[in-house]
Amino acid sequence: VGAGYAIFALGFGLLFSTLKVLNIAAGMYAALPAVAVWYLSDLRHWPFAVAIVAGLAAGIVVAVVVDALAFAPLRRRNVGMLGSLITSIGVWFVLGSVADNITQFQVERYPIGSVPRGFLSLGIVTIAPTALVQLVAAVVIAFSLHIFVRRSRTGSAIRAVGYSEVSAALSGVNVNRIVLITTGVSASILAVAGILIAGTSNNVSHALGDSLLFKGFAAMVIGGMGDVRGCLIAGLGIGVAEVMIAQYISTDFRDAITYGLLLLVLVVRPTGIFSERQTTRA
């Protein structure tokens, strides 16, 4: 569970820390690629692997187009975070309607046989293959993103734009190009989160994005907005906490404790538990 939240938080955090948009539509950036994979593999009978690639591509295209149509004009007018937030709510509804109409308001699942079932026994640990893939994906994405953001020239430019678009532009950074790259990278990470979780939970629907959005947002805030290591640890932590709370306390308190933790972090350390390095870096 937590690996999915972590992957989502990584994409969401990158989007937020660089573009300064609390993009509520990010949940749909995860759900729509999953819907596309289902549509292409189940209804159009494309090979599952091809459908996954197409779903990822669709997710990136949707995010880039949405940014160009909805958020870029706001950035140009320097509307600020509130205007972007309201716009993203509108985008959320539009993309949700698209997902609903493709699935005909049903909850769908990937074709039978396309997702491995059962459990793997790894020594003392028993784990579902889908959960293992999700966990490995979370670690690989976090590591790659960390290297990309901290060690590459483009990563430096992304951090510069995240700190100040004006300063970055004055330093010779092509801000529009960096925004495009950030949107694409974020969208691809969010798409991976959606596609993987849809396979693990047998749920391809608009609701997939809503649930990811709230838990992924909590992971991003707790971990430190834009901090790769923090998002990974917080996402996994929330997933583990959810299961443990349900197991040893009550399912009734599951969400209350997750969001209580979010509130606590906001009060005690608003920048997130692991945000120190990011602040220094910026």
């Binding site: 569970v1 049903q106 909850v107 749920n203 649930s211 197991q247």
Partner: protein, 393 residues
Amino acid sequence: MKSARCVLATLVASFLVLGLGACGPSPSSNSPSSSGGASLAAGDYKIGFEGMQTGTFAATGMQISQGGQFAVDTINATGYLGKGVKLSMELRDSAGDPAKAIAAFNDLKRQNVSGVVCCAISAIAGALKPVAVAAKFPVVVAGAGLPGIAQAPYVNRINPLLSTPGGYDVAVKKVLKANPSVKSAALVYTKDSDGSVADAASMEKELIADGVKVKKYSVLSKDTDMSGLATQIMAEKPDMLIQSTLTPVLILLVKALRERGFTGVDFGNKGGATDSMYKLGGTDIEGMLMPVEYDQSSTDPTAKAFTQAWTAKFGSPPNVFHAEGYAGVYMLAQALKDSGDGTPEHVTDALAKIKTMNTVYGPMTVSDGQAFFAGTGLVIVKWKNGKIVPWQA
């Protein structure tokens, strides 16, 4: 050849429609016991239908409204309301939102409908009830399971409460009797659905009465990842899973448990008895026991006629949600027929006089606006090779 097939199909459809008129909800079989027998003046009449066409529960809402529209078509085809009477249905979307449902209700009233069929979920029914009572406007609830919704003469409910005789008292006992080794049960319910909570309380009461140790788990209707809950349930090793949850949680949890090797008794609910849920659950939900009010293999004349006519038109049998819309419209149509003029005031009076009905759920009695099983009560069905079949203990 093609035209010959068309003629044959038309003849078969006509026969079935006539058959429905003969043995279905006909004036003789469906009239309220205390009806004055007034006939409806010729003309066009409208009823309102508040359905969920978008939103989380749209899939269910669309099936219920499809059942309602089929009832209207059948009523017109069979002349159920009398000579020269044509019925139409104004459909409004509540999107599962109580505020939108109230707006839809007010809009329907402005359209001069004779009454409104509504409320697949308890949240909508709970919101509309005081509005309908204050407006003194006739409403028939079809679907929502929260106790206390009916308030005669304005708010009537055609679907029986599952906490009343013939409901879970029958179904749970049957299953436990057939599975005497069941000593512990995991009871999962949707805590943000009042109807689910009420049904869960009823299930728990029956389980405890039979000496079963119950552990309760709650989910939210928006929950989609069942892996954590499934792991938690598996750790407790219950003999039985019993769910008062909404779809898709119902199916997703069963799938997650099956993947983890759960082999106990699986007691679900009517939400699983639709083709779309079978598509989602596949073979994992084969064997899940589903207590339903309407059974497509029922030999009850009204249910049988409905099943045959629907199958002839759509090529596959109806499900329990289609039946809900159908039953709701027929209850309102019966009152409309007995009202004499179709005004909401007289329809309300006629609804108050309905004491018995033959419905697709079998024979029912009506008391203070609430329908109760008068026949066998809930029927348990299950999926077998992609088809719904009656469960034999």
